[in-house]
């Protein structure tokens, strides 16, 4: 009965162990793929509901059971939407986000480079202050900032919406992280060749930081576009509103006229989604580089 040779035993074990291991793995894989697909649909659905809802009439929008796809798409919602100063709001959003983007990139690139590559007294202190401020959400200082803007007479102005956002610690941090990858030899060589600091910054450092600046630019643009809280607090008049803020205030008027609200929601988010899809690589790079690890 104890005829099973060691060789055979080993074979049997292999035969039993291997497929079981693979069976477990594949079952896990199938289940995880199903969950992944389902949650992916769940994440996509709100956007789908916005875009399709934008073409539904009010009657269709509130019908139960719901129409999963607009069978009789209409454009009326868009006509009603554009009865509001939507162009002005879109311009405001673009203008504020672009101005912030340019300023943040310039200010962050110079500071980030110096923090990464230069030794000077106070460097460590500045860096620690920066990290500390990065953890502090901007919302926390919004109340004192608002009273300060009120003193300056900057409430409800472009100045008030743009300038306070320029001193963004995260931007400096991101630029510092990227600047560290610039080889020191390159900077030293430039110095030996008699290239001044400012010239070497514009001719050597900036070109090397290009992808990083791209990532930061998109980040800043998106954050500014979506910075609802600051815009809500600093803006007063209808003319100064940004697109998301304008759409939010429309809710008071159109409440359950979901078609119009979805058209507004689509307009407020589609530009950002397109920008995101075009520059996803930069986004991803910025997020990974900007993490403290």
């Amino acid at each position: 009965m104890k005829a099973i040779s060691p060789v055979k035993m080993k074979k049997e074990n292999d035969g039993r162990g291997r497929p079981k291991w693979f069976r477990d793995l594949s079952a896990f894989k199938i289940i995880s793929t199903i969950i992944l697909v389902l949650s992916g649909l769940f994440f996509l659905f709100p956007l789908y509901w916005i875009v399709t809802g934008a073409f539904k009439s009010q009657v269709v929008a509130i019908t139960i059971p719901p129409e999963w796809f607009p069978l009789n798409p209409i454009l009326d919602n868009w006509v009603i939407l554009f009865n509001n100063p939507v162009w002005r709001w879109t311009f405001n959003s673009f203008f504020i986000a672009s101005a912030e983007m340019i300023a943040v990139c310039f200010v962050s690139a110079t500071a980030g480079f110096v923090l990464a590559k230069k030794v000077f007294p106070g460097r460590k202190l500045i860096f620690i202050a920066l990290i500390a401020a990065m953890a502090l959400p901007k919302q926390v200082i919004l109340v004192p900032l608002f009273t300060m803007l009120a003193d300056l007479g900057w409430v409800d102005t472009y100045k008030g919406l743009i300038i306070p956002a320029i001193g963004w610690p995260f931007g400096v941090f991101l630029m510092k992280q990227f600047s560290q990858t610039i080889p020191n030899e390159l900077l030293e060589a430039a110095k030996i060749d008699g290239c001044g600091e400012i010239r070497s910054f514009f001719h050597i450092v900036l070109p090397m930081l290009k992808p990083a600046i791209g990532a930061l630019a998109i980040f800043t643009f998106m954050l500014s576009w979506n910075d609802y809280f600051s815009q809500l607090v600093i803006t007063r008049s209808t003319d100064m509103m940004t697109l998301p803020l304008g759409i939010a205030t429309m809710q008071g008027e159109y409440k359950t006229d979901y078609g119009v609200m979805m058209a507004g929601a689509a307009l407020a988010s589609v530009p950002m989604i397109i920008i995101f899809m075009l520059f996803q690589k930069s986004f991803t790079q910025g997020i990974t580089m900007g993490s403290i690890k």
């Binding site: 995880s32 009273t147 809710q251 407020a268």
Partner: protein, 298 residues
């Protein structure tokens, strides 16, 4: 002799001046619009500060908050929001990252994109569509739960469900960044580690617990911090969907700050709330530094 000693010093001084010249723009904006408001906020929190008055009252704002039931409720709601959202965000994003990180670049980008989408979508658009989905009469959710024999629920109007309804939206808008971070750090784990464990017949569960999880720890800590801070900031969802109601069941500290300052005009109390929030966030950041401090390059 003197010249040779002075020369490098002069050079150094020039270097320092240059460095500060480069730092000047960022530093100026940072000091004026971040550091100064911070100090001003602390100062304001000791005043009875409204449209009609500006009077020093010492700690009274803090004492008022200490006894204020609405503030307690806001604090508890904020903690619940964080305590529910953070573990789910971590668990879910590790799951997604594990499922996609070995796939082709195309599938990876595609999945990352989908899960990052709610974070790119304007928060106003997000609230508008979720407000519709949650609507007790015209909403999709009640239509679906009806199939399971459930009575229609006013998801955002019932104190029992409102906070959870908000939390679900918050989670969908917060997983994008963690997934990107986890995919990146999973990609950095040497394949040989996992192969070696597989040769030793470690089960997938063992591989995850003993190899992957510990190696993901730095990322997880960072994700915990950013998600916690992000959840603390949760404002727009609440302001646009429930205004803190019903009966303060969704009021958070951040919403309380807004309500006190911009709806009721009590800038003093709002500043005190801001200071308390900053201290809480500060403590969390210090804990982060205690764990991660060694890995940050100065």
């Amino acid at each position: 002799m003197l010249a040779t000693i002075r020369k490098p010093n002069k050079h150094k001084l020039h270097d320092w001046l240059m460095s500060y010249l480069f730092l000047l723009p960022a530093l100026t904006f940072f000091l004026i619009f971040v550091v100064y408001p911070m100090l001003r906020g602390i100062y304001m929190s000791f005043f009875d500060y409204s449209i009609t008055s500006f009077e020093f009252i010492g700690w009274e704002n803090y004492v008022t908050l200490y006894h204020d039931e609405t503030f307690h409720k806001s604090l508890i709601n904020t903690i619940v929001l964080v305590a529910v959202a953070v573990p789910i965000v971590i668990g879910f994003s590790i799951f997604v990252a594990m499922a996609i990180y070995k796939k082709s670049e195309f599938i990876r980008s595609f999945c990352r994109g989908i899960f990052y989408l709610p974070a790119v979508t304007s928060v106003v658009s997000v609230t508008v569509v979720w407000g519709w989905i949650y609507h007790p009469n015209f909403g999709l959710l009640n239509y679906i739960t009806n199939f399971f024999g459930m009575e229609p629920i006013s998801w955002l109007g019932d104190p029992k469900t409102a906070l959870m309804a908000i939390t679900v939206i918050l989670i969908t808008t917060s997983v994008g960044q963690p997934i990107i971070l986890y995919v990146a750090s999973l990609g950095n784990i040497p394949a040989s580690y996992i192969e070696a464990a597989q040769i030793d017949r470690a089960s997938p569960g063992q591989i995850f617990r003993k190899i992957i999880w510990p190696l993901l720890m730095p990322t997880s800590l960072y994700v915990i911090v950013i998600t916690t801070i992000n959840s603390f900031q949760c404002f727009a969802l609440i302001q646009l969907l429930t205004s803190g109601g019903p009966i303060h069941s969704t009021s958070t500290v951040m919403y309380g700050v807004y309500q006190q300052a911009f709806l009721l005009g009590n800038f003093g109390i709002a500043s005190a709330m801001g200071v308390i929030l900053a201290i809480i966030i500060g403590i969390i950041s210090i804990i982060q530094f205690k764990y991660l401090g060694n890995d940050v390059e100065y």
